[in-house]
């Protein structure tokens, strides 16, 4: 203390304390190094700007925020203010990868000497225009065709529709919704006179009973499934009934699962209607004042319906469907007696020979029991693609249709559209054009010489594909796609690189009639252009530049929305400005201050509905919805000893359609969808083990798949997904179609399964 201060060689006590103190301080804050990270958590993926947009994939149409850094999409997250409340599924999350996958088509290509070679846009478009012009001049307008997609923007489908029907003058204008939703369209139009669901997603928040039939909602509309589960979580007494041949993930959550044989829906619903009548669950007010009855072309009465469904008592229907009578009775009781019942369905019903009958069977159940038009009570057909509704169904971009629910075969409708489109009377042909299957048949026969295909992959998705793939080699195929090669571009004579998702701007309409805007936030790669640009260019070169006057997304939108005011699909009030501001709006929306319509056909809620009654089914001349009397038909493609098994097809959550978009995504590389689900009983019978390569053969073709023994399928039934390009299951499927909608029956055909001999 009082010692002399010796200069020590090391640190003094004071220095030591100083050093220790500073070190401790640094040690405390060192983990926070990085400027921003000192004060706040930083996101793992830094984003410069977030843009409001929508998911590229399914018909749910989830709102998402798209994060862009350096002109690249780097991240996506759910939009908290959209109907999906910030949720996305795995495909939604992978939107951030899809623009950058391998295999993007970057430049136009022309087939020279059998090989596709790079060309300039001028060369390619000149060739396309020349060949189309030649065909039209020599063989007439019906020698050319357009095959579009429920994934094109509304502006694109609308423009193609106008060009082909009112410009070129051919009704050979169809699209892949024919393979997906056509039976839903005819189901709704035969029941209500107008297409599209009457309810909206919000109805799921109020239902007490979900009747899910022919839909693996958990895998195919996962965010809607979560919404239904939320309802059950908040109200555990909510009942879920699932009708599905397979014990899917969705069925595993059901309170009651009816594993009916594929194609027996009509028998089931007739039997349920019989139960309603026998147990007094018929809404008499509906029957007397708001319903009409019809069988084929004959008018019928409620008494006729009673007699008709009495032919399907539970015992008989149960035998046809392969389930128990008790289950039918319980399902019927739960459906009818719940306070609000909501039905959900997709491909299970639509992709059948009796697709239309199945669709309107479900609608009839709702109409008869009065589960209609109230929050939570509605028959809700779910759309598979993101823009089958807005882009194809509402714009009438199918070979028998015209915009706004009009029909080509109806002279008044043709005249209305000719006037609205300002073309001379008689320009639109009176005969419906080729529907999808017929179109590719015509190409194979040589009746259609040139076909423009956009944003779809018929080489993989047409049923009985071997037949039609050969045909595509014959025709002059122009294919616009974002990826090359696909099972369709390999047959193309001209490949046009298309921009994808947020590389182009446009509007789509999802399953609940919500029209919403997809912004352009990055530039397309290489020389890719938007499909609208391609169509506008094509129109000019083929001599119809004066018809296609709207050349930008906004201009086309304005033209179309003003035209829509002349129909019951009126959305004139959905301006581009509103779309930019809102998270979409539900049509009908006739004026700019109208908020959109949640439930249709209700006077006071639906601006198209009039009168003071409970409902106004304005789509029908007598204002009444129609209940149809349909009968169960035995399967086409019978089961024999040679083809004893039922072949069913479908999808899984992680991949989209033909995998052109999801196939290259790095995270999804480990998901291989080319397996055959086979029940252990059948595997034992045919001497097949897990993992064996098997050949599935039908009367039309065969495909090789890897056997996956599973209790998900019933004995006697096998299942494969449609996704893989390496194993084309459509070589096996049947191109028979529903007589009303022309939609092919992918869900059932007769096959044999044998182990592949090495």
């Amino acid at each position: 203390m009082a010692d002399k201060d010796e200069k020590s060689e090391g640190l003094t006590r004071r220095d030591a304390l100083r050093v220790l103190g500073v070190s401790a301080g640094i040690a405390m804050i060192a983990p926070l190094s990085g400027c921003g990270g000192v004060w706040e958590r930083q996101p793992v993926i830094p984003v410069d700007a977030w843009h409001k947009g929508v998911c590229r994939f399914c018909g749910t149409g989830c709102g998402m925020m798209i994060g862009v850094t350096d002109n690249k999409v780097v991240d996506v997250k759910g939009d908290e203010y959209a109907h999906n409340r910030g949720r996305l599924c795995i495909k939604g999350l992978m939107n951030r990868e899809i623009l950058y996958g391998e295999g993007r088509a970057l430049y136009p290509m022309i087939r020279k000497n059998g090989k596709l070679e790079r060309a300039t846009w001028d060369e390619a478009m000149d060739l396309v225009a020349t060949r189309f012009r030649e065909a039209i001049d020599e063989y007439g307008p019906d020698s050319v065709a357009f095959y579009g997609s429920g994934q094109l923007y509304t502006q694109e489908s609308y423009t193609a529709n106008k060009l082909f029907k009112a410009g070129i003058g051919t009704n050979n204008m169809d699209g892949n919704p024919r393979l997906c939703m056509a039976s839903a369209v005819t189901g709704y139009t035969s029941s209500f006179g107008k297409d599209e669901p009457a309810g909206c997603y919000e109805d799921m928040d109020y239902s007490d009973c979900f009747f899910i039939t022919g839909s693996n909602t958990l895998e195919c509309h996962p965010i809607l499934w979560e919404r239904m589960l939320d309802r059950k979580r908040s109200h555990p007494e909510t009942r879920i009934i699932v009708v599905d041949p397979r014990r899917t993930f969705t069925a595993m959550h059901a309170d009651l699962h009816l594993p009916i044989y594929p194609g027996t829906d009509v028998a089931l619903y007739n039997s349920m209607m019989n139960e309603f009548i026998e147990n007094g669950f018929i809404d008499r007010d509906m029957v007397e004042n708001y319903l009409s009855f019809q069988e084929g072309k004959q008018k019928r009465t409620f008494e006729d319906l009673k007699k008709h469904v009495a032919q399907y008592p539970a015992e008989r229907a149960a035998k046809i469907c392969g389930i128990s009578p008790r289950d039918i009775q319980e399902a019927a009781f739960t459906f009818a007696s719940s306070k609000a019942t909501l039905s959900i369905w997709t491909m299970g019903l639509n992709q059948q020979v009796q697709g239309t009958a199945s669709n309107r069977g479900v609608v009839a159940m709702h109409l008869l029991t009065g589960h209609f038009g109230r929050p939570g009570a509605t028959p809700f057909s779910l759309t598979g693609q993101p823009n089958a509704c807005g882009g194809v169904r509402d714009t009438g971009s199918l070979s028998h249709a015209l915009p706004g629910g009009r029909l080509v075969a109806n002279a008044t409708h043709r005249e209305e559209m000719e006037d609205l489109w300002k073309v001379p009377r008689g320009r639109i042909g009176p005969k419906p054009g080729y529907h999808a299957v017929a179109l590719f048949e015509a190409i194979a026969k040589g009746d259609v010489k040139c076909c423009l295909v956009m944003c779809t992959n018929p080489g993989q998705t047409l049923p009985n594909s071997n037949l039609y793939r050969k045909g595509m080699e014959k025709g002059f195929m122009v294919v616009a796609d974002s990826f090359h090669p696909t099972e369709t571009t390999i047959f193309a004579d001209v490949v046009l690189p298309a921009a994808m998702w947020v590389e182009k701007e446009g509007v789509k309409g999802n399953a609940e009639r919500r029209y919403h805007l997809y912004p352009k936030v990055v530039d397309p790669p290489g020389e890719a252009r938007s499909d609208l640009d391609i169509l506008v260019d094509f129109a000019e070169r083929i001599g119809h530049g004066d018809l296609i006057t709207a050349k930008t997304p906004k201009d086309v939108w304005d033209e179309w929305r003003h035209i829509s005011a002349h129909s019951k699909y009126n959305f004139e009030g959905i301006t581009y400005e509103r779309l930019q501001k809102e998270r979409g709006i539900l049509w009908p929306c006739p004026t700019e201050d109208h908020p959109g319509t949640k439930r249709r056909y209700i006077p006071g809620e639906d601006p198209m509905a009039h009168g003071g009654g409970r409902f106004d089914f304005y789509g029908k001349p007598d204002g009444r919805a129609t209940v149809w009397l349909d009968s169960h038909e035995e399967p086409v493609d019978p089961y024999t000893d040679e083809f004893p098994l039922i072949f069913n097809t479908g999808r899984i959550l992680e991949h989209w359609h033909t995998m052109t978009i999801t196939g290259p995504v790095p995270e999804l590389q480990s998901i291989h969808p080319d397996y055959l689900e086979i029940h252990p009983h059948d595997a034992h019978h045919f001497n097949i083990r897990e993992g064996d390569q098997v050949i599935v053969r039908s009367r039309r073709g065969e495909v090789e798949l890897r056997a996956k023994l599973s209790l998900v399928v019933r004995p006697g039934m096998v299942f494969a997904t449609m996704h893989s390009a390496k194993h084309l299951v459509n070589q096996v499927t049947h191109d028979v179609y529903d007589p009303f909608s022309k939609q092919p029956a992918y869900k059932r055909c007769a096959v044999s399964v044998r182990k592949k001999t090495v």
Binding site: P31, E40, E80, I90, S234, E667
Partner: protein, 243 residues
């Protein structure tokens, strides 16, 4: 009073001891009363009491020893008492209060004490809510300290970033400078979900989880992006305190 002999010293100690005991008891009860919470998690109250008692006791010891009794204490006694007052009791107080804060702030009531949290706690305890928080609470998937169950960076064994966040939240809150509706900043760490869920049979059999495993572990994709929302969305918050 001058301490001339051992008896005086002993008396001084007794008085000191008694004073300290009374002050501690009084202080502890004050602390409990101030919180208004008689539902004491075992341990927290004790820790809190010890902390308060040590702090108060230390101050009193120091004041008495240095300003009042200094001259009457032997040097040795004085130094021992200083040791007590300057090191032992402060350390006890620090440890106890740290433990109290670290453990006490794990409780739902601690989070609820700021009114900006009202919509979140209301939702948590609402059996009809389908948010992740409400479901984990309702089904007792997290038995207690439910907020902390998912926001574990705040505990004594949590991250320094968690402490910084807590400080920042407190600062914004008491100065009223937070932006309403409040948002979670940055990426939420999936480890909070995965440490319970990963490895379970149910989780492992989902193809999507296996496909995204690497992304999930690096927080490139958040579990809550598919399975959320964890809490009511801004437009759904009710019972919120208006700014």
């Amino acid at each position: 009073m001058v301490m001339r002999n051992i008896r005086h010293i002993r008396r001084a100690w007794m008085r000191l001891g008694l004073t300290w005991t009374w002050m501690s008891l009084f202080g502890s009860n004050l602390a409990f009363a101030a919180e208004g919470n008689t539902n004491i998690v075992p341990g927290i109250g004790l820790l809190r009491g010890i902390g308060i008692a040590s702090a108060l006791g230390g101050i009193i010891v120091l004041i008495l020893v240095h300003f009042v009794y200094r001259k009457r204490l032997s040097r040795g006694t004085y130094h021992w008492l200083l040791l007590l007052g300057l090191f032992v009791l402060p350390i006890t107080a620090t440890l106890s209060s740290m433990a109290t804060v670290m453990e006490g702030t794990k409780r739902v009531e601690a989070c609820a004490s700021c009114h900006v949290m009202d919509p979140f706690v209301n939702d948590l305890k609402n059996p009809a809510s389908p948010t992740l928080a409400a479901r984990h609470y309702k089904n007792k998937w997290i038995a207690k300290d439910q907020c902390y169950g998912c926001h574990i960076s705040y505990g004594a064994t949590g991250t320094i970033a968690g402490k910084r966040d807590g400080f920042r939240h407190w600062l914004y809150y008491v100065t009223g400078t937070y932006s309403d509706p409040i948002k979670f900043v940055g990426s939420y760490s999936n480890s909070n979900c995965l440490y319970c869920h990963e490895g379970t049979r149910i989780w492992e059999r989902i193809k999507s989880h296996n496909a995204l495993r690497a992304d999930l572990e690096q927080d490139l994709v958040a579990c809550i992006r598919c399975h959320g929302p964890p809490h009511p969305l801004p437009q759904e918050r009710t019972g919120s305190a208006m700014k």
